[in-house]
């Protein structure tokens, strides 16, 4: 586990990471939870090497050892942050830390010696996680310079507070909760950080009792879904500041800080504005020692005939864009925005983060567009989780949001897929001969061999 020299997939700066060799494998969280199939979830290994005869195929599946984990997000045990001044870069990037969003179990997969066939080497039961940390429903995993950080949506029951917990770098055992002083924070979802600012940022979805059994419209209208960003002192583990994005802006999800450590700012998506069902992307930034945030992208809902809408949306007569995931290229130039409702993957040029410019749009599935794949095969659901290769040229997209929410928006059913797009300086085109069909299983987060645009953080600015 500890080598003599630094892991070759660690890079001190984003610019150097962009010159890394292209990924050969993609690891994809695949679920049977909520599909009616009584089988464990699995991590699928997809061959993404265009020179390989298996290009675009699932070449291996790592099955988990029980039914109903509900895989969602996952991450690496170690990454480029190990090259930070206090890190230990001889810790290898080899283990995938895979939490169950429903079970709170943590699975550890070893991608060495054969990255094509990872092995399940450890399971930490959810009960143990909750006993040690007081948290449940584990979500985002980030590799810190000192430990593995994991966000959790729930507390001991089906309420809050959610928060962040730490796992030991080597044993993967839970160390405890991150927060020493949590201030007003109660809801949790995603987290990331500005290492150069000693700052952690966290976002808000809601507590398990309002999301696990489907979208709770009453809770949504009552304002029980989150609308805040929280900023924390990463070293002192204290809450520093909360920013409310607006009374109607609900479900503040994916956090994408700029990779350049000299720029303390980042993007976050808001899934829905309850007054008009639009979605938005906000920029947070540091100014005169305080954090601020402003809306920089708004995607409006599209009116359509009611017959074309699923029951849940008929009263509104519109297709909400449902921006559920975003991803930022390593050079902080292009922001990819998934509109899961309408069926669009948008690319914005964010060279000036305060004024994003729409660069291109690719249509995939969706309630509105129902666009097939260029190969002619139909696509159920819409673009949801999006991941960008380190060189910024390939974009991977899957289509499932959450097991109990998918049927609300896509009642005709959803077959898991993984689609590849090329990005030619932000100009998106769907790759015709790459469409991975997961069958009855659903596909969620994608992680790329050696790291991707949302896995690594960097302490040093690009030259």
């Amino acid at each position: 586990m500890t080598a003599l020299a630094p892991d070759p997939t660690f890079y001190p700066t984003p610019a150097e990471a962009m010159r890394a060799p292209p990924e050969r494998f993609a690891y994809v969280a695949a679920l049977h939870t909520g599909t009616g199939i009584n089988k464990p979830d699995f991590i699928a290994v997809v061959d993404v090497d265009p020179k390989s005869e298996n290009f675009g195929r699932i070449v291996h599946r790592v099955e988990l050892d029980q039914v109903g984990d509900e895989l969602h997000h996952f991450g690496w045990n170690a990454c480029s942050s190990m090259l930070c001044p206090y890190g230990d870069p001889t810790t290898e990037r080899r283990h995938l830390i895979v939490p169950g969003l429903r079970s709170s179990n943590v699975y550890v997969l070893d991608t060495k010696p054969d990255p094509r066939r990872p092995r399940l080497v450890k399971k930490i039961p959810g009960e143990k996680i909750t006993r040690v940390t007081g948290y449940s429903r584990l979500h985002t995993v980030h590799c810190g310079p000192d430990a593995i950080y994991v966000s959790a949506l729930g507390g001991r029951g089906d309420g809050g507070p959610g928060g962040v917990l730490l796992l030991d770098h080597r044993t993967f055992e839970p160390l405890g909760r991150f927060e020493i002083e949590r201030g007003p924070q109660y809801l949790a979802y995603d987290f990331w950080w500005h290492l150069a600012e000693d700052t952690m940022v966290t976002s808000e979805w809601t507590v398990p009792k309002y999301y696990e059994n489907g979208l709770d419209l009453e809770a949504l209208t009552k304002g029980l879904y989150g609308n805040k960003l929280h900023f924390w002192d990463l070293r002192r583990r204290k809450h520093v500041q909360a920013i409310e994005l607006g009374k109607d802006e609900r479900m503040v999800l994916e956090l994408r800080p700029l990779h350049d450590p000299t720029k303390p700012m980042g993007f976050v998506n808001v899934v829905v504005n309850v007054s008009n069902l639009s979605s938005s992307v906000w920029l947070w930034y540091k100014e005169d020692g305080r954090w601020g945030a402003q809306k920089v992208i708004e995607v409006e809902a599209v009116p359509v005939e009611r017959d074309l809408l699923p029951d849940a949306l008929r009263p509104f007569g519109v297709v909400p864009p449902l921006v559920t995931d975003i991803n930022l290229s390593l050079d902080d130039r292009y922001l990819y925005v998934s509109c899961w409702g309408t069926g669009e993957l948008r690319c914005y040029d964010v060279s000036n983060p305060f004024e994003p410019k729409l660069r291109s749009v690719a249509k995939l599935g969706g309630i509105l567009h129902r666009s097939p794949h260029p190969s002619g095969r139909p696509l159920t659901g819409g673009p949801q989780m999006v991941e960008v290769s380190r060189d910024g040229k390939r974009v991977y997209v899957t289509n499932s949001l959450y097991s109990s929410w998918d049927p609300i928006f896509y009642p005709e059913g959803l077959r898991g897929w993984l689609v590849l797009l090329r990005s030619d300086n932000g100009d998106l085109s769907v790759v015709r001969d790459f469409l991975v069909d997961f069958g009855e299983a659903k596909a969620h987060q994608v992680r790329l061999e050696g790291g991707d645009s949302s896995s690594d953080s960097f302490c040093y600015p690009s030259p």
């Binding site: 500890t2 080598a3 003599l4 020299a5 630094p6 070759p8 660690f10 890079y11 001190p12 700066t13 150097e16 090259l83 930070c84 001044p85 206090y86 890190g87 230990d88 870069p89 001889t90 810190g144 310079p145 000192d146 430990a147 080597r170 290492l195 150069a196 600012e197 000693d198 990463l234 070293r235 450590p261 000299t262 302490c459 040093y460 600015p461 030259p463």
Partner: protein, 204 residues
């Protein structure tokens, strides 16, 4: 019986080995220089961190000198060094000390880094052995202090050279090649020194 030459040369070697380790502080100096785009920041940061490191070495003197006429104390400090070395070998840790530090805090950071990475404990048994051999006294104490200062100076110089090389000549990409497993080196060094001191003191 522990050899005088051994202590002298070990103290210098330890300075180099400690200074060259990126985690000992020079990388923090390079980081600060890169963020502020200033060579002056590099020199200032590394100087302050080295001073902190010197404090951690002086701490080892405080730990070893007062009871240095007692031979068993040498064994105790060596045993502590041995235990710490073994612990770091088995459980390598690297605490998050934060990057947003004022310049005035660097002295403390240097002190902490020196202690965490075993500088204090590696010197203590050597100094203790040295003092106990000559039965304590002011002259011995002075030479022990000299050892400590030499060690710190060598470590500081090494840090400055390493920091300058990476900042000005090699570039950050070099981190991927030159950063070896210093934790392993340090742990083994601690164990070897401590074992040698224990053996030479108890078998003399």
């Amino acid at each position: 019986m522990i050899a005088e030459g051994f202590i002298g040369w070990t103290v210098v070697t330890l300075g180099i080995v400690h200074g060259v380790n990126p985690s000992s502080g020079w990388l923090l100096g390079v980081y600060r220089a890169l963020i502020s785009k200033s060579l002056r920041e590099l020199a200032l940061s590394i100087s302050l961190l080295s001073l902190g490191h010197m404090l951690s070495s002086v701490l080892s003197l405080a730990l070893s000198a007062p009871a240095s006429h007692l031979r068993w104390w040498t064994v105790v400090t060596a045993a502590a060094a041995l235990t710490y070395g073994a612990w770091r070998l088995l459980r390598p840790s690297h605490p998050y000390l934060g990057l947003k530090r004022g310049r005035h805090e660097l002295l403390c950071v240097g002190l902490l880094l020196g202690m965490v990475h075993g500088s204090t404990l590696s010197l203590a048994p050597l100094i203790s052995a040295w003092c106990s051999r000559f039965g304590g006294g002011l002259a011995v104490l002075t030479s022990a202090l000299t050892f400590t200062v030499i060690h710190s100076f060598v470590a500081g110089l090494t840090m400055m050279v390493a920091g300058l090389l990476v900042y000005r000549v090699l570039g950050l990409g070099a981190l991927r090649r030159i950063w070896v497993n210093y934790n392993l080196i340090w742990s083994v060094t601690l164990i070897v020194i401590a074992s040698y001191v224990i053996l030479s003191v108890t078998l003399m």
